[in-house]
Each structure stands twice: as C-alpha cells, then as structure tokens.
C-alpha cells in the first residue's frame, strides 16, 4: 500500500510540474520564482482547508460545513475588529480559531452523542452556520474601511521573503504532517477510516476520534476564516459560498479516498496546488476564468479514475475470477 501511495503522490507532483511547464512555455514570467511564491500564497487558504477536510475524509466522514464555519468565524472576528480596533491581532486569531473549533466541536458532538451520519449533520450545519452569520451580522457587511490596518496587513507582512500567510500555510502543513504520521491520534484516524470495527477492537474509541477530527477541521476553518476576510477585505454572509465542494475536490485530486482510510498530507497539498495553479494560470494564458470550473471538474474525474485503477482491492479481483470461472 505504501508503495502505491508514494507512487500516486509522485504522479501528482509530475502533473503539477507539467502544468507549470505547459504554462511556462508560452509565458515564462509565470514560472519565475517570485510568481510561484505568489501562486503558493494564493493557494495557502485552500491548502489549509484541504488538510482539515483530508483528516475528516480519512476518518470516513465528510465535513460539508467548512465554508459556512469559515464564513461565521471570519464574520465574528471582523465584527470584533470593527467594534474594538485595539484588540491585538494575536487575540483575534485565537478568537477565530476558538470560534471555528467550537462550531466544529458542535458537529462532532452531534455525531458522537447522537450517532447521526456526519454527512447529514454537516449538511444541516452548512445551512445553520451560514444562517447564523446572517443573524450575527444582521445581514450587514464589514467593509475594508471598518477593519484596522493591522487586521488587514498582518498576513501581508514579509518575513524572510514570504508573506505571513504563506508561513501560516507552511506551519499548518507541517503540523498536519506531524499529526497524521507521527502521533497515535493521527494513526487512529487512519485506523478508524480503514476499518471501524477493527479499530474498535484495537481499543480506539471510533466516535471520539471522529469528534476530535471535526474539532480539527473546525479549528482550521476558523483560522482560514480570519485569513480569508483579511485577504479579501470584505465580510458578508456570502463569503466562500459553495467553497466546501472546491475543498473536497482538492482532496479528491490529491488521492484521498472518499471510502476513508486513504490519504496523505502531501496528496492534499498537491491536489490543492493543482487547483491553485489552474486558477492563477488561466488569466495569464488569456482564458476566461469561467473555464476554471469545467477544467477542475475534468481533472477530478481523470484523477479519481486513475487512482481507482491503482487502488483495486485484491479481494475484488478474486471474486471476479470466481465469476468468470
């Protein structure tokens, strides 16, 4: 299995490089280091969300509420900033993460205590959190001129050649790499996804693991909520509407199996980067941005079809032979 996983990530990396080369051939400016940094910076938000979603999908669940959670937490800190401009940026980030974590924990609690399927719960909270944003803000927007300079400027500060946003992205990637690979909790996420019954017999509390996974995806959504608002400098009820499916698409491109148990940090990052490169390259090659959706759709289908061929379980094959005999 490990060999296949590594194999898949290499293919994905090659696909990303090929994509860059293709654009670079016609427009060399696009592949200058400075622009590549820009592409990474633009994609950081998607990368972080994709990592949170990856953990959820690996545990054989689905979080449809991430974009709504992001919208709510972003609105919460934007309003806090608008009414109390003197609150330091560190506190605002902590508040954003805490709000996101609380909403994620709410998802997790319903799944844990009431054992409602995650897809149903998050389908519900998808609507609830966005509605709650409306209640919180009264339908009003928070505009750029209501936000403090620090609120907007923090992620744009250049540290060692990279904007803070990129650094946050890198730190989150590193944390997920550590979490998923080197901690017992990370391994138990995979165990729960591969075979919940076996995980139970191995002494893993399946429902509790899922609860914590949803806390993680919630915390990530909260963090991205602040970063999103300060990046696009507008907080409204419509923020990131429909983005949950883009995040899932990035995971699927990255070889995360919707059946659970399969997925890696590298895969999710590369999947998100693939979508990010397309998004940034289209205007450069003078293709209408309206093509982006269709292209990512085709990419998902192709990627998943390719993944599936390498993923066929031996058990299936044996059954097939019996049929044919």
């Amino acid at each position: 299995v490990k060999r296949i996983v590594r194999f898949r990530e290499i293919w994905l990396l090659l696909a990303n490089v090929a994509l860059l080369a293709l654009v670079g051939m016609r427009f060399p400016d696009f592949v200058r280091p400075g622009n590549l940094v820009q592409v990474f910076n633009d994609t950081s938000l998607l990368i972080m969300l994709a990592l949170g979603q990856m953990a959820v999908i690996v545990s054989r669940s689905l979080d449809l509420s991430m974009a709504s959670n992001l919208c709510f937490s972003g609105m919460a800190v934007a309003m806090l900033n608008a009414t109390h401009p003197d609150v330091p940026i560190g506190v605002l980030i902590a508040v954003a993460i805490a709000v996101g974590l609380a909403l994620g924990a709410l998802n997790g609690l319903v799944i844990w205590l009431l054992s409602v399927p995650p897809i149903v719960v998050t389908l519900g909270t998808l609507a609830i959190y966005r509605g709650a944003t409306y209640v919180l803000s009264g339908g009003a927007w928070v505009n750029a001129d209501q936000m403090s300079p620090a609120f907007i400027g923090f992620q744009r500060v250049n540290v060692l050649g990279l904007p803070v946003l990129s650094w946050i992205g890198i730190i989150v990637v590193a944390m997920f790499a550590l979490l998923m690979r080197w901690t017992p909790f990370g391994r138990s996420i995979y165990a729960v996804g591969v075979n919940p019954t076996a995980a139970l017999y191995a002494g893993i509390d399946v429902a509790r693991t899922k609860f914590f996974v949803f806390c993680i995806s919630g915390a990530v959504s909260g963090l991205v909520g602040y970063l999103w608002i300060s990046r696009y400098v507008i907080a409204s009820v419509e923020v990131a509407s429909g983005y949950e499916l883009t995040v899932i698409a990035a995971c699927l491109l990255g070889g995360v199996s919707i059946a659970g148990g399969v997925g890696s940090v590298a895969g999710a990052v590369l999947g998100a980067l693939f979508l990010g490169i397309i998004a940034d390259a289209l205007p450069v090659i003078h293709v209408s941005p309206f093509w982006q959706m269709a292209i990512s759709g085709i990419a998902i289908i192709v990627a998943v079809a390719l993944n599936l061929r390498s993923e066929r379980r031996p058990g299936r094959v044996i059954l097939k032979r019996v049929e044919q005999a």
Binding site: L114, P117, V120, L123, I128, V135, Q292, L308
Partner: protein, 334 residues
Amino acid sequence: MRERWVDRGPIPDRLHETAWRKLMRWEMLLAAIAVTVFLLNSAASPYFLDPWALSDLTFTFTEKGLIALPMALLIVSGEFDLSVAAIVAFASTLMGMAAQLGTSTPLVVAIGVGVGIACGVGNGLLVAYSRLPSIVATIGTMSLFRGAAFIILGDQAYDKYPASLAYFGQGYVVSVVSFELVLFIVAAFAFGFVLHFTSFGRRIFAIGANPIAAHYSGVDVERIKFQLFCLTGLMSGVAAVLITSRLGSTRPSIAQGYELDVITMVVLGGVSIQGGAGSIPGVVLAACIMGLVTFGLGLLNIPSPVMSIIVGAMLIVVIALPLVWRRVLLKRLG
C-alpha cells in the same frame, strides 16, 4: 407466534407489521409535522389560508421535489448525485441558446429534457460502468456541467424565450392548480409505483441493502444503477424546463445549491443515507414540509438565511430523534 408462521405457508417477503408499528412509521411522524406546520402557519399569518397563497406555496417545492423523486431511488440504491443542480444549469443554458436562435417551444423543451438525459447517461457511465464512487464522480461532473454553463454564458444571461414556454412554469391546469403541481403529483405516483410495487423497485432496495448479495442473486447491479442515473438526469432536465419557464431567463448560477436542498428533502423523507431503505410517500411529505416551512416563514417576513437555520436544524433533529429514542428504549429494556 411460531404457529402462525407455519400456518401461513410460504415465507413472507417482509416481516409482519403490527398495527402500532404501522402507525408509528416515519411517514406518520412527517405527516404530523406537516399538519403542525400547516396549523402554525395559518395561525401566524392571516394571508396563509388563501387558495392563491397555497398555490404559490406549491411552487416552492415542486421543482426540487421532481428531482428529489429519482434522487430517492438513487440514494436507496446506495448512490448519490450531486450534479443535479449543475445539470439544471447546463440544460437551461442550452435551452436558452436554442431559444435565441428562434427555436420553437417544443424543440426548446426537448433540448432541455434531452440534455438532462445526456448528462445522466454520462454520470451513469462513470459510476456504474467505470466504477467511480458516485460522490466523487458527481462532484466532478457538477463542476463540469456548471462550468460548461459558465463557459457558454459567462456573466451574460439569456432572456428571450418563446412566449408559449411560459406555460410550463407559470401555467395553471384548473383554476389554482398549477401545471408544476400536477406534474409533481403524477411523477410522485409514478415513482411510488415503480419503487414500491414493481420488481425493479425491489431490486433497487436489494442493491442498496447489499450490492454483492444482489449481484449473486442475479440482479444486474450496474445496469440498474445506470438507469437510475439516467432517470435522475431526465428529471433534472424536466426541472430545468420548469425553472427556466418560471423565471423566463437563464444565468449560469441558476439553481445554485439545489443539490443540497434536494438531498435534504430525501433524507428528511426517511431515506437512509447508507441506502437500502426509504419510501416515496416520505419524500413527498418531506418536500411539502420544506415548502410549508419556507413559505410560512416567508409570509412572516423572516429572511431566507434564518429560514435555512430552521431547515438545517429540522434536518438534524428529525434524523436524530428516532436514534435517540431507540437508545432510550434500549436502555430501559436492558
């Protein structure tokens, strides 16, 4: 107890149901909720109990309901189609394109329905024969179909439709009974008949309960799944005709987010998200409840984001209640 089973002769194809269990079925709960919401609505707003208001109410769920019917069959069989709203957008866009060229109404309708079927065939090929997981495949085709609508239309809109097209989404068959409502009722009976009274329907349940067992029992799992995706595409095409006709214009963002509303209806209607269980009457009732709630709240001037809180909470509570209830019962017994 044992005696009665022997006396009956052949083994029954379903378990014996007591009258109490029949009464306590999911549909009864839904019907009770529907009646409650109806009464609350009529108490809350003096404008609710007006034939025309009630007629307007039906428009809030007929289009989504028409897609929810085949979606219920699909979810019972253990599959998903997230691309339905994108199919509506794509079909509506091509309808608009044809209408700009001066195509006659019957042909425009045929294009809408035909595009729906073609998209369904595409989904079916991917899921049933290429064996992609349906959530994944239809997230992909969702982007593809809506992306195609965006490529064709960009930020433009089609709004020149033949006048006679308006009948489908705005016409009335008899006084306050709209064409959409009649179509929905007819479709509901047809789908209910197919799912509950034909061998095709029994096979759908068999596939959802255990696809491998169904396969070894001689059910052509792939073909039935393929047909279900085609059917979902067809009904999405029909919904596209209705929505286009009702709005009289097409933007690429048409029917945005409908897929989640449709799935909410189906799940609320008692169809198991894991497949293998569900009923059409339940889905029809759930569609009515969603319509009643949104319309009733609309009469009270409650903004739509707040409505979505209520619909979302309703979904979770209605699904959770029986699960919690069963657990309480088990605890009392054990």
